[in-house]
Symmetry: C2
Subunit: 137 residues, 2 copies
DNA sequence: TTAGTCCCTTGCATTTTGCAAGTGTATGGT
DNA sequence: ACCATACACTTGCAAAATGCAAGGGACTAA
């Protein structure tokens, strides 16, 4: 198969990298995994509050791109931990470049570790029957 | 104004960088400008073939983000050249990180300079009356 | 039972993207 | 004058991606 068919847009390494992680969420997920987060819930609670359908979608894509691995860490019920592959860990260099650029050119931005409350945000308890009854009026 | 209002998602430098250039096209435009392209037409003719409405939109956004400057390079008709500001040139480090990652982990990808025909693709002559008549049947 | 947690899925409205064609201003050729 | 072409966009519209809110299954603890 030739170049025209093998790549979506061109053979450029930048273009193809962007086709994999060139959106507003993928690299944030990688960032969190690099910071040691491992579960869906931990990722969902990050300060940017990724919508859960997008989190599920991004994890799936990252897994099929060979950037993330999904492994069960408990049974009954089975729960999965998401971890970076070497390919995923190598994105750390890209993230570092973004951090340096952002800190230099976007006033007020920080590394997540410097953010208040350790970069975590509390999640509301949203799915109890009480909460649902309350919303229903 | 506090952090919650000043940033769209969080104070994280990565998140805010992605809010500016975290899509599939912006960094390709920056790449081309770094490679010395200067006009709308040159940018539009890059191998990835950015749709022209998106090119116009991205240039506008990059200008208002302080990454690109638009200056007239001729009169009658007035034509503009797009060039990178220091903030834009500094994105070179991000692009370099993407190139290294892509070349290592996405088989077959290249630097644009290594691509056939110097990374350029011919544009069809699409707006002549003859071409239009031909399409109309 | 009831409440709560965890990990997602689903429905749907809004926004973004992408394709194709059109527009306005100019130059060069005949 | 007339035609072809170039350049730099704009416009219209369909398709895809995003984001919000709610739903749901599997389980634990009270």
């Amino acid at each position: 198969m030739d170049t025209a068919k093998r790549f979506a847009r061109s053979a450029c390494a930048i273009a193809n990298s962007l086709d994999i992680v060139g959106d507003k969420w993928s690299l944030l997920v990688v960032r969190d995994l690099l910071h040691g987060k491992r579960t869906y819930g931990e990722l969902a609670r990050s300060p940017e509050r990724i919508p859960t359908n997008l989190l599920a979608d991004r994890l799936e894509r990252l897994v099929s791109a060979g950037i993330v691995t999904r492994t069960p860490y408990q049974q009954r019920p089975v729960r999965y931990a998401y971890t970076l592959t070497p390919k995923g860990r190598a994105l750390g260099d890209v993230l570092l470049a973004f951090v340096r650029w952002g800190k230099q050119y976007i006033p007020g931005t920080l590394t997540l570790k410097q953010a208040p409350a350790g970069g975590e945000v509390a999640a509301p308890a949203a799915n109890s029957r009480r909460a649902r009854a309350k919303r229903a009026g």
